[in-house]
Amino acid sequence: MLDLYSPGTSYLHRLGPGPKILTMMLGGTGLFLFDSLPIACAAFIAIAALYPVAGLTAKQAWAQIRPLLWIFAIFFALQWWLSGLTTAAFVVIRLAALILLASLVTLTTRASDMIDSLTHALGFLRPFGANPAKIGLSISLALRFIPVLAQITQEVREAQKTRGLERSVIATALPVAIRTIKMADDISDAIEARGYRP
């Protein structure tokens, strides 16, 4: 449902989420350390070349950049005005490269695999008193709550409409807040009643 994943069988799809996330973090930091236009251009071309390797189309790569075009345009204009054409081109190309790199990871990794490896990776927090299983539960609960919240808001909005209060933000927001907190208390009682001991 809430997943940008694009199915495939390429090497990048089969690679574990851990190495991909690490590579992305190192690559992103590297681009900020070596700030020169040729390196940014080379990185951009190299990352764009990985899209066909992962079996992704040019259309998918473009879809990652397109929503940000106007941001690029304004960055470019501001930078051109403040520090010249070279810096402007550099800032925009570096940003585009970073976004393509991050999207590549997201497009080739299932969200559920990401969550599993995140829960696993959080094992190092165990000595500090954090429990990865509890973090896993909170992740699953949060994802389940999103559609429930949308539904509760819809119900409250309809109820307030019959009272002629559809224009009041508070008349919707307050009952939604109180109902969801009541729901959270009920759910935590239900979890405890079933003997949840992670």
Partner: protein, 178 residues
């Protein structure tokens, strides 16, 4: 951590995500972070769930965004957003929520005139203190220019502070034991 805290953390992370379903206002003249309803979620996480639960709820939220779920307003997500202009504001969310929760935890029965400044401090001042230098660094802007740009966001944030204060006081009246 008790079960109730886990559920509350999940709830406020989800609330912030659900607020992202409202369309963001992105104004082309000032490209940078969009005005969204999501910072209301940050304020409420702190003011209703408290410092610890609220801070952790926002940490959970940005972790979910980082792993690539499109939970930010306008369907954005993935590591790329942290490299963008709004990255610093996102990273400030857990700090903001924790500061608001801490302040209100010290005066839970505060009236409107006391609670609103507490929420404004965490939700505006703390958030901008982290977000603006980040934005300046990413966009290569001088700090003063970045501050000027962000002034455009203050009116919207003040509206959210007022809403958060009214909602928090209402919820605390309905749930005195919160």
């Amino acid at each position: 951590m008790d079960t109730k805290s886990i559920v509350y953390i999940a709830l406020f992370a989800a609330l912030t995500a659900a607020l992202g379903l409202m369309p963001p206002i992105s104004f082309a003249g000032l490209a940078l972070p969009p005005i969204t309803a999501q910072s209301l979620g940050v304020m409420l996480a702190g003011s209703i769930a408290g410092a610890r639960r609220g801070g952790l709820a926002m940490l959970l939220f940005i972790a979910l965004v980082a792993v690539g779920l499109p939970l930010l307003a306008g369907g954005r997500g993935g590591f790329g957003v942290f490299a963008g202009a709004s990255g610093g504001f996102l990273l400030a969310w857990p700090i903001s929520a924790a500061v608001i929760g801490y302040l209100i935890g010290r005066a839970p029965a505060a009236g409107f005139t006391l609670m609103a400044p507490m929420i404004a401090f965490g939700g505006i001042i703390v958030m901008y203190a982290v977000g603006i230098p980040w934005m300046a660094a990413v966009a290569g802007l001088p700090l003063t220019k970045a501050v000027t740009i962000m002034l455009a966001y203050v009116p919207g944030d003040l509206v959210k502070v007022i809403l958060a204060t009214i909602i928090t006081r209402g919820v605390r009246r309905a749930y005195p034991a919160l």
